[in-house]
Symmetry: C2
Subunit: 336 residues, 2 copies
DNA sequence: ACCTTTCATTGGAACGTTCCAACAAGTATG
DNA sequence: CATACTTGTTGGAACGTTCCAATGAAAGGT
C-alpha cells in the first residue's frame, strides 16, 4: 500500500528471510541455499524491487560511476570519442555521468565539482580548458585522464591523444607524393592541438626541401573560419590546402569552389580528425583520421587501471592517425 | 591524516560546531550566525570538503538527477536535442545522467534500469525503441517524457515532437511554389517518424492536384541509403526530391551529381531535421528544420513540471518546424 | 522579576544499503 | 562422543547526509 519504492527489507519480509541474506543473494554469493535464493528472486520480481544505488554507493564507498566532461557535444569528434568511452566503461560494470561544458570555462569547473559530489571514481576529460593548477588538484583527488591534449604534465594524470605533429607530416607527405609543392596550411587558431599540427606542417615542408613555400594562414576550427581562411589563402595560388580539422576543411572546399576552382583538379584539400560525416559521399574528404573511438576506449582503460593503482606514474599515450584518401586530393596540375 | 575524503563531521569539529549546523549552513539557511557561518566556510575551504551526493540523496530521498536515454550519439539530431535538455535541466539545479543506447533494444532496457537504480527523478527518452508495455511500466514508476515520437499513448507520459505530417507538407508546398510537379519522396524506412513524413508528402501532393505524380522510393535515414534511393528515383526523371532526413539528403545529392545532374539546376533536393552541418557552405542544404534545442528544452520543462505533479494527464506537445531555404532547391526547369 | 518569544544550536533518528562477527544445525574427523 | 569444520543464516553497525524535536541563551513584554 505504500506508494514509495520497495526496499531490501520489503523483499526480505516477503521472502521470509533477513535483509542480509537478500543482500547476499543479490550480489550473487554462492552461500545462499537454492530454496532461499528462489524465494528472494520471486519476491524481487513481485515487488518490482530495484537496488538503491545511492545507498549502495554509500555503504560500499564506491560509486561505480565515472564522470565524463565533454567540451562540446556539437562537434562530432567528441561525440565519437565518447562512444568509445561508453563501450569500454560499460564492459567493466561502470556507468558514466556525462556533463557537456558550456561556453564558459568557469562553468566547466563547477560542473566538475558536481561530478565529484557524485563520488565518481574517475574523470575523463574530453578536451578541456582547465588551467594547470586546477588540473593538478583534480588529478590528486581522483583518477583523471585527458583525451586529445597532452600539453600539460600533471602528476598521476594520464593522457591519450594522437601525435598531431606526426599526423600533420603524413598530410604533407601525401600531398608531396602527389606532386604538390605550393601547400598552404590553414591553421586552427591559438590552441595546443592546432599549434602542434602547424609545427608538423612546417617540419615536413622543410624536410621535403619546400621551406620557401611554407605559408600558414590563420583560421579556426569551424566551417566559417575554414571558409574565410581558404579565401585568404587563394591569393598565393596554392595547389593544395592542409586544413587544421575536417570541419574547417569542409568550409575551405566551399571557398575554393566559390572561386570557380575545382577540388581536387585545381586544388587538393586534406583535413584532420576523421569525423564520420567526412565520409559522406557529398563531402568525400581526404583526411588524417584519428582512431576516435579507440581514443575513448584507451582513455577508459587508463582510468580503470588507475582506479586500482592511484599512484602509478603519469602516462602519455599517443595513438597513430592514419591517412584516409578519399576524393578531395589528387595529383598536382603539371607545372606551368 | 586520513587519506579519504573529509566528511561533514570533520568540518564540524574543525569549525567547533555540530554537524547539524554545518548542514544548515551548507544549505544556506538564514538561521546561522555570521560568526559560525564564517568558521564553517573556512573549515570547508581548508579541508576541501565536498558534499557526498549519495548520502545526501539517501537522506532527502531525492537525487536531483534526471536520466537521459539517447538512441544514438552519432546522429547530430540527437546531440542537438540533448543540448537543449542539458541547458534547461541545469538551470533548475538538476544534473543529467546520460546513457546512449546501443544497437540492441534489449540493452536499452537494461540501461534504463541502471538509470532507475540511481534514483533519477525523471527520464527523458530521446528517440527509443521500447514496446508500449515497457513504456507504460516505466512511466508509471517515474516521470517520463519522450522526444521525437508521439505514436505511443501511455498514461502519465508526455511527449514532445514536431508535426512530421505538417513539416512534410511544407516541404512539398515549397517545391510546388518553385514550379515543381514531379516530386519524388525518398522515404526513411519503416519507423513511425518516416511514415508520418511520407503521409504528409502524399497528402500535400494530392492537395496540389499532383496525385498522379506521387512516388515514394524506399530508402533509409543514412547517407548511404539516401544515395541508393536517389539513384533508384532518377529513373522516373523527377525535378525534385523530398528526402526523409538531412543525412540521407546529403547522400541523395551525391547520387544526383554522380549522374551528371546539377543541384538545384536540374534537380532540387530538400531534407528534414535541420541539423547544423546542413548549414555548412559546402552542403548548404534546404531543409525543414525542427527547433532541435527547443525540443530538448521543452522536454525538460515537461519533466520538471511532472516531477511536482506526477498524475497530471499525459500531454503531447507539437512544435512547428520551419522551412529553411538554402542552396539545394530552386525553380523547376521549364517544362519540355 | 517573571513569562513568553525568538534565535542559534544540538543530539539523534532516519534514509537503504553492505559487511562483519556470531550462531545454529548439520557433517565430517579424531 | 566430543571436537572441529562447513553451510546457511542473522542482527547490528557503519556509510554521510538531512531533519526534527529539544535545548539554552538572549531579548522582549508586562
Amino acid at each position: 500500500m505504500s506508494t514509495s519504492r520497495p526496499t531490501i527489507n520489503d523483499v526480505a519480509t516477503r521472502a521470509g528471510v533477513s535483509k542480509s541474506l537478500v543482500s547476499l543473494a543479490l550480489s550473487g554469493s554462492t552461500k545462499v541455499s537454492d530454496v532461499s535464493r528462489q524465494r528472494i528472486v520471486d519476491a524481487v520480481a513481485e515487488l518490482g524491487y530495484r537496488r538503491n544505488a545511492a545507498a549502495r554507493s554509500l555503504a560500499v564507498r564506491r560509486s561505480h560511476t565515472i564522470g565524463v566532461l565533454i567540451l562540446d557535444l556539437h562537434n562530432p569528434v567528441f561525440a565519437e570519442i565518447l562512444d568509445g568511452v561508453q563501450i569500454e566503461v560499460r564492459e567493466h560494470g561502470f556507468s558514466t555521468m556525462l556533463i557537456s561544458g558550456g561556453a564558459d570555462p568557469e562553468l566547466e569547473q563547477a560542473e566538475i565539482d558536481t561530478l565529484l559530489q557524485f563520488q565518481v571514481e574517475g574523470l575523463i576529460l574530453i578536451a578541456h580548458r582547465l588551467p594547470a593548477h586546477v588540473l593538478t588538484d583534480i588529478a590528486a583527488e581522483v583518477p583523471t585522464v585527458v583525451v586529445t591534449r597532452d600539453d600539460i604534465a600533471v602528476p598521476f594524470m594520464d593522457s591519450v591523444s594522437n601525435d598531431d605533429v606526426a599526423g600533420a607530416r603524413m598530410a604533407v607527405d601525401h600531398l608531396v607524393s602527389l606532386g604538390h609543392s605550393r601547400i598552404v596550411h590553414l591553421s586552427g587558431g591559438d590552441n595546443p592541438v592546432s599549434h602542434a599540427r602547424a609545427d608538423g606542417y612546417r617540419f615536413a615542408m622543410t624536410q621535403h626541401g619546400l621551406a620557401q613555400h611554407i605559408r600558414v594562414v590563420p583560421g579556426g576550427l569551424t566551417d566559417a573560419k575554414g571558409y574565410t581562411a581558404a579565401r585568404d589563402a587563394l591569393s598565393s595560388a596554392p595547389t593544395a590546402l592542409f586544413v587544421a580539422n575536417d570541419v574547417a576543411a569542409i568550409g575551405a572546399i566551399a571557398a575554393v569552389e566559390n572561386a570557380n576552382l575545382r577540388v581536387p583538379e585545381d586544388i587538393s584539400v586534406i583535413g584532420y580528425d576523421g569525423i564520420s560525416i567526412g565520409g559522406m559521399r557529398r563531402l568525400n574528404l581526404t583526411t588524417i583520421a584519428q582512431p576516435l573511438a579507440d581514443l575513448g576506449r584507451l582513455a577508459a582503460q587508463h582510468m580503470l587501471h588507475r582506479i586500482n593503482n592511484r599512484t602509478a606514474p603519469a602516462t602519455r599515450q599517443h595513438v597513430s592517425a592514419t591517412l584516409v584518401i578519399r576524393g578531395t586530393t589528387g595529383p598536382a596540375a603539371t607545372k606551368v
